[in-house]
């Protein structure tokens, strides 16, 4: 039977956006970006979807993408369908806006996944490029009580098992676990594919399922934040860079060597 793979995806501020475009709103506090900058699907989540699509290509799979947020840009999130996912579920509710508490996000996602039903594999991006917590997937695995393999650069599934190459500081580990399981995917897996024109048109005809908080069996006690954001600020940059000049680039290079020697750095 074909695998049922769930991929979690988050809509984030475009990390390529220049820092000058960021501003901080003290109320919240939160990071505000101008409306001219479109949000994106978190890049690592696209890597996770790519891992799912490779499994779909090689052995057949049904892919459900699920996301939690306050207000989605539908065109942005539909990219998941255009890339080749079969179903898109957006858990959209004002209650889910500005969730910076991973524990609460993991609770909502776990409730959504229980509503989706049976699955073989959950693939998540290793972290989101906004809060960089790298926390929700691991908590989700705990809440669903499935084995968890983090930082995969390769994912294979066969014979009721998932086998992954997990990145470690000095190389990688090949590890396996019985399905169902959760795997977090790192960018080393490879670039996510571009949607084909055919898939973009097919995606345009599909409508994502929109689930509200009341559609999920959520225990209010578990939605109490565990972490409170107190303040956001831009880091102070005090470094003054001394530009080493020269008649041409080569002389500048030589002068740099002299400068570093003078400073006893080399």
């Amino acid at each position: 039977m074909a695998l049922h793979i769930i991929v979690t995806a988050k809509q984030v501020v475009d990390p390529e956006m220049p820092i000058s475009a960021y501003s901080i709103e003290a109320a919240g506090p939160r990071v505000v970006t101008p409306a001219t900058f479109q949000p994106v699907i978190n890049g690592f989540d696209e890597n996770a979807l790519e891992a799912a699509l490779r499994l779909k290509d090689s052995q057949g799979a049904t892919i459900t993408v699920v996301s939690v947020g306050g207000q989605f840009a539908l065109d942005i999130m539909k990219k998941a369908l255009a890339m080749g996912a079969d179903t898109l579920i957006l858990c959209q509710d004002p209650l889910f806006a500005h969730l910076s508490d991973s524990f609460v996000t993991a609770q909502v996602l776990s409730a959504a996944i229980r509503k989706i039903g049976a699955f073989d594999l959950i693939l998540c991006g290793r972290q989101a490029s906004d809060w960089d917590n790298a926390q929700v997937p691991l908590m989700l695995a705990e809440l669903l009580d499935v084995p968890c393999l983090s930082l995969a650069q390769k994912v294979e599934a066969a014979d009721g098992k998932v086998t992954v190459e997990q990145l470690v500081p000095d190389g990688y580990i090949v590890a396996e676990a019985p399905l169902p399981a959760l795997v977090t995917v790192s960018n080393e897996l490879g670039a996510p594919r571009y949607p084909t024109m055919r898939n973009i048109m097919a995606a345009n005809r599909k409508r994502p399922a929109l689930w509200k908080a009341t559609d999920l069996a959520l225990d209010p006690a578990l939605l109490t934040p565990r972490i409170e954001l107190v303040n956001l600020a831009f880091p102070a940059r005090t470094q003054q860079c001394e530009i080493i000049a020269g008649a041409d680039a080569a002389e500048a290079g030589r002068n740099l060597a002299l400068k570093l020697r003078e400073a006893k750095l080399i």
């Binding site: 501020v13 990390p15 820092i19 508490d101 991973s102 524990f103 993991a106 290793r126 490029s129 960089d132 917590n133 790298a134 926390q135 908590m139 695995a141 705990e142 809440l143 968890c148 393999l149 983090s150 190459e165 470690v168 500081p169 000095d170 190389g171 990688y172 580990i173 090949v174 590890a175 676990a177 080393e188 670039a191 934040p225 565990r226 972490i227 409170e228 954001l229 107190v230 956001l232 600020a233 831009f234 880091p235 940059r237 470094q239 860079c241 530009i243 080493i244 041409d248 680039a249 080569a250 002389e251 290079g253 030589r254 740099l256 060597a257 002299l258 400068k259 570093l260 750095l265 080399i266």
Partner: protein, 330 residues
């Protein structure tokens, strides 16, 4: 859980030795325990922990709790988690600290979830408000573009510290303390994840994390070949090689060369970057370098905002002349 008390550092032991990151975390925990007027406890999970326990006392701990079991000789996350949950329930700390290492990244959030709390992730600094007993952490978010201050609303308060954010205390051989074994029933079948094999990709030469000089290249190099020239430069300086994520994603260099938020955190005395634009995601891994040198043809590149010395120019011309000058100085 019993009434919360004290500060607990979750330590890491490798080949019988306390990890360097754990010593840093102990240095962060020491003043917190003193301000709170409590003991600094250390929790160690593994096998044959006697010597690491003594190291933990010398590095600032007041007492050590151990779960010492042959099943924990190798890292099995599920067994480690079961041991740590039992350890946490025994110690019942108000504050827990750990390092955001490869192991800590996996353990922190899962342990927190089992305890029904959250983790302050990737903290550069932790401070205690003695009036409220609440911990406030400072941590980079949005790829390092923004600094957040956050605090835990639930107990235990858990913070995962970025490696090298704190300097370890000098070991004090006179420091002594109790070592308490925590009994935990462990069973090999609790481990659902099995390691099939380990593939080491050791870089030749100096280890990136420990190097005093690092030479790194990025997207601006345009391909894998120029890295050979940088390797020659690194060889001349006794430096380790690093790279930006762009160079790794392009497949030009091995993944374990990556410096940055999702790669390695380095704190060399001298960091020479060539063709690296200095995206926040990269700076997150090298902002602890004492001196950053940037060679980049784009005068507007962000790296010049962080660098102490810079050359604005084409690396094709700058680097060979730089190397030639170093050769003549040596």
């Amino acid at each position: 859980m019993a009434e919360a008390r004290g500060v607990l550092v979750i330590g890491e032991v490798s080949a019988g030795q306390l990890s360097s990151t754990t010593k840093e975390v102990l240095a962060a925990g020491r003043p917190l325990a003193e301000q709170a007027g409590t003991a600094l406890a250390v929790g160690l999970v593994g096998h044959n922990l006697a010597s690491a326990a003594q190291e933990a006392l010398q590095a600032g701990g007041d007492r050590v709790y151990t779960v010492d079991n042959a099943l924990l000789a190798e890292v099995h996350l599920e067994l480690y988690l079961a041991a740590l949950v039992a350890l946490c329930r025994t110690v019942a700390p108000d504050i827990m600290l750990l390092g955001r290492t490869a192991l800590g990244r996996d353990l922190g959030p899962r342990l927190a979830c089992r305890l029904g709390v959250g983790v302050l992730q990737d903290c550069l600094r932790v401070e205690l408000d003695t009036a409220t007993g609440r911990l406030t952490a400072t941590r980079p978010v949005y790829g390092g573009n923004v600094l957040a201050q956050a605090r835990c609303l639930a107990t235990p308060q858990i913070a995962a510290l970025r490696p090298k954010a704190y300097a370890p205390l000098a070991p004090d051989p006179a420091r002594q303390g109790e070592v308490i074994a925590v009994p935990v029933a462990l069973d090999a079948t609790m481990a659902r994840v099995a390691v099939v094999r380990q593939v080491r990709q050791e870089s030749a030469g100096v280890k990136l994390e420990d190097a005093t000089i690092v030479v790194a290249g990025g997207r601006g190099l345009g391909g894998p070949e120029p890295f050979r020239e940088l390797q020659e430069l690194a060889g001349m300086l006794g430096a380790a090689m690093g790279a930006s994520r762009a160079a790794v994603d392009a497949g030009w260099v091995p993944g374990n060369w990556q410096v940055g938020l999702t790669g390695k955190t380095i704190t060399p005395d001298l960091y020479i970057t060539v063709g690296i634009s200095g995206a926040s995601q990269h700076l997150a891994g090298c902002s602890g370098a004492k001196v950053i040198v940037a060679i980049n043809k784009d005068a507007e590149a962000n790296i010049f905002r962080e660098a102490r010395y810079g050359v604005v120019g084409d690396w094709h011309a700058v680097v060979p002349a730089f190397m030639e000058a170093i050769r003549s100085l040596q």
